[in-house]
Symmetry: C2
Subunit: 364 residues, 2 copies
């Protein structure tokens, strides 16, 4: 039987509540006899800072390197607004991404049929929506240097961030996008601001070259990031795969996720390059954040995190069948009319985090 090490990093806010439900699904998965998952749990984000003064400890980083996959809940919250910049909750998440070289962030924006009505967009525009946003995750303005604030005296400061991309970084993320497109709608939109940014010019050039060299069977469209933000509102179904840089990916994936009406349902995967055995470093997390406003109340929707665990089973642990079962169970409880507060709907029953977890396990 295949055995794997999974590091759980619940993080802050609703992170712990939703991760509790994943723990129960790990038990279920182990109970099937198909797999043996050994979990370890550690701190990341504000809770780590509160505990030992850093957003992630060296021990946790070592555990992340040693694990076959990492599951993350969420980090951050107003409680840590005054924390020094390099110790803020997000620094833990960014270090995980960077040190594990998780350059490819896959963010599906799917509209669950039962939730089409929950979208702020008209039903016909989102029903059946299925976009995959492929966001570059270890480069761009998130990590470029210099990144600093200088005191100029006379009450003036100067802040600088630097967006850097090298050819190889764009090549590898483009390849991920084209590979995914081949298994989906065979269409890639590459979003940048080549009309204003040099990184956009290079992005455009490299994606075009990768396409020409190795993926000319896939349809490629270049789109300006501002226009992409418009089109995601106007007619999101025109997209299949969108590949874009770290910062545009941050904004556009959140916009797309919200457009589906299924934000609390959306998982994500962050992947590195495969090693000689084909294993790639991987971290799975919900698209939503730490939702400090409802934290600790047992109200949070655990489905995005559970769906992230399903992605983990599929992509890191090669257990597609178990992943299918979890995804079917999620669809099933929605069909039964169970809803957490974020997706509450007339005629449906509003339940809490635990009850939603119970229902999914019962359906399994």
């Amino acid at each position: 039987m295949a055995s794997f090490k999974l590091l759980l990093l619940p993080g802050d806010g609703i992170g712990t509540e939703v991760m509790d439900e994943v723990t129960r699904l790990v038990e279920w998965a182990n109970g099937t006899g198909a797999i043996a998952i050994e979990t370890e749990t550690d701190l990341v984000g504000g809770c780590a800072y509160d505990d030992h003064g850093e957003a992630i400890s060296e021990t946790a980083m070592e555990a992340a390197h040693a694990a076959d996959a990492v599951m993350l809940g969420a980090v951050g919250g107003p409680k840590w607004d005054g924390v020094p910049y390099d110790k803020r909750p997000e620094a833990g998440l960014l270090r995980l991404r960077k040190d594990l070289e998780l350059f490819a962030n896959l963010r599906p924006a799917i509209c669950y049929p039962a939730l089409a009505e929950a979208s702020s967009l008209k039903r016909e525009l989102v029903e059946g929506l299925d976009i995959m946003i492929v966001r570059e995750l270890t480069g761009g303005v998130y990590f470029g240097e210099p990144k600093e604030i200088t005191d100029l005296g006379n009450g003036q400061k100067r802040a600088v961030d630097t967006q850097v991309y090298e050819t190889y970084e764009i090549e590898r993320i483009a390849a991920v996008a084209f590979d995914l497109a081949r298994k989906r709608g065979n269409l890639v939109h590459s979003a940048e601001k080549r009309n204003v940014m040099k990184t956009g010019v290079l992005w455009n050039e490299v994606v075009t070259q990768v396409h020409k060299d190795s993926y000319s069977d896939v349809k490629l469209e270049h789109i300006l990031a501002d226009n992409c933000a418009m089109q995601l509102v106007r007619a999101p179904k025109q997209f299949d795969v969108i590949v874009t840089d770290n910062l545009f990916g941050d904004v556009l994936s959140d916009e797309a996720a919200m457009a589906t009406g299924s934000l609390g349902m959306l998982p994500s995967a962050s992947l590195g390059a495969p090693d000689d055995n084909g294993m790639r470093p991987a971290m799975y997390e919900p698209v939503h954040g730490s939702a400090p406003d409802i934290a600790g109340q047992g109200k949070a929707n655990p489905i995005a995190t559970i769906a992230s665990f399903a992605m983990c089973l599929r992509y890191s642990f090669d257990q597609g069948a178990l992943a299918d079962r979890i995804e079917t169970a999620i669809a099933d409880v929605l069909d039964q009319g169970l809803r957490t507060g974020d997706i509450a709907q007339a005629g449906c029953k509003t339940v809490g985090t635990r009850e939603m977890g119970d229902a999914i396990i019962a359906s399994l």
Copy 2:
């Protein structure tokens, strides 16, 4: 009688068609006897490059400096995709913004009642929508140095863009946002990514300080730019004024404009600092682009550009009454059921650019 110099820069694509209608409105304004507007017309963008190899000529720049206001149509199009970076159509627009020091870009996102149905968002979410996006326009990643592509040899290139903000740049744009909010809903959202960007940290700090020092009567909310992109889809009416940097402003204003369903209707103003006589350098332009796909067909919606001219009358020429009349005429033709193709609607009459201009002038 007050007399003013107005420079018309129709630009590329549908720019020339929509500017033709403005020319007729200038004649109308002059005909009222309230004002004497002297116009001059020049090239900007791809057409300027085709004519003399630069995206804007020195003569045109001098005319822009000498004018009391500039009206711009739109620039760019696939025709100029291969043009050297510093001569691309957008370079003309960026030079105008930078050299005239038009640091404050006001982009109203208004839902015209007659068009609420045209929005992809549900009617109740956009009906009555009235947001003002205040975008910083002369700083950030658009102009920061270094901005370059370096050949590293062995097939690798390295592209860099630099986002820079100094305290005074944030102070002056924040003041514009707070001043506007006082005349509107008294609420400002300041959007940045302080959790990832040092410019976001400084932005947050300076806006907070300006608020504390001079505008504590206005309600201020800080919002992460990615969350702002989500909230604009989820519940846009929660916003009154949004103040943000050049790049986020580009993306978020386009998203908001599209959400209104009234994209072809939305004007914008780019303003500099007032001189000793209270005159501020100003450029007015539609929010929409050059729409190369429908250029030259007489189909484009001239209303955004006509509404931009109304803004010019109000803000640069102090002719609020004439501006009111134009805005009323726009509402009037919509009520009459006239629509250009972009806002075509069952039960309404689809007309071209010229017919729409005719109808507005007739209504005046």
